[in-house]
Amino acid sequence: MRIKKNRSEVTVSAGSMADIAFLLLIFFLVATTLSKDKGLMIQLPPDMPPTKTRIIDRNLFKIHINSANKFLIENEVRTNLEGLVDEMKEFVLNPSNSSSLAENPEKAIISIKTQRGTTYSYFIEILDLVKEAYYQMYGEKLGITSDQFRALDRDNPTEMEMYQFARSGLPMNISIAEPNKK
């Protein structure tokens, strides 16, 4: 005698597996960002014995940071750096033709001098503000913000032209003075 087996096949639908796997794939694609290295770029001067050039005092915007991380900006002790960006912009562009500010933007130099004991993060803070001031000036020339200016794609010819126009006649003269010997 044959007993009829009650076979009820239990199957899990594999159709949605693809969706799950796609979800995983998309998650990884989105989550992995190819980060480009970002930072503050400067060019060091060539290694040559220093040549003496006379720089008229009014063309030099002096920022000193001492080893106690205190700022001396244009011979004034400063505790907060608010408004420094605008001061630097006024110094470089000199819209009011003041005799104490730079003769013209090409001659203007912003000098950062640190001491051996200065903490790196304070130097970066100042360098950041100086760069920001210049980028704002470049942006204003084109009628865009400094962030938009930095986002200009230099591989794109029209944007490269904008970039070059903004930078012409307004060089980023940042001098990083060597600290005094111990």
Binding site: A14, M17, A18, L44, P45, D128, E132
Partner: protein, 148 residues
């Protein structure tokens, strides 16, 4: 009356192999995406800044790390680490030369030295490194910072 029997031939494509195809894609992306090796000889915390510039040509970048050694038997002061090795200040020149040799002829003078330094390093040490780099004509410096 005799109805002609309809033959219903269902032609379905099996979707069972779809997950395999997608997994294959997933694995391809996972394998082809190479993780950037982190230099972990030194501990450091980079400072933050806002006016950041991005480097277009990533291959020009050569990294120097300045921080406190993780292995405390190497000392507690700030040390330089390059290519996962601790180097002395006097070895920077040699490092510059070897790094420059890895670049194509046309890009040799455009090398960028990325300085990833801890926020509490003294500027004296940074300046010493910069003097050394200047001597060996590696004058483009990128201070690595995080976005504020």
């Amino acid at each position: 009356m005799n109805f002609r029997k309809k033959t219903i031939a269902k032609s379905e494509i099996s979707t069972a192999s779809m997950p395999d195809i997608v997994f294959l894609l997933l694995f391809f992306f996972m394998v082809s995406a190479t993780m950037k090796k982190q230099d972990d000889q030194v501990k450091l915390k980079t400072p933050e800044a806002h006016a950041l510039t991005e480097v277009q040509k990533q291959f020009l970048i050569k990294e120097l790390h300045v921080g406190k050694p993780k292995n405390s038997s190497l000392g507690i002061g700030y040390k330089i680490s390059a290519e996962n090795k601790m180097i002395q200040l006097s070895e920077i020149g040699h490092w510059v030369e070897t790094q420059r040799a890895t670049l194509d002829e046309t890009y040799k003078d455009q090398m960028i030295v990325l300085l990833r330094a801890d926020e509490n390093v003294d500027m004296g040490f940074i300046t010493d490194i910069q003097q050394e780099l200047r001597k060996y004509k590696a004058r483009k410096i990128l201070y690595r910072t995080l976005e504020k």
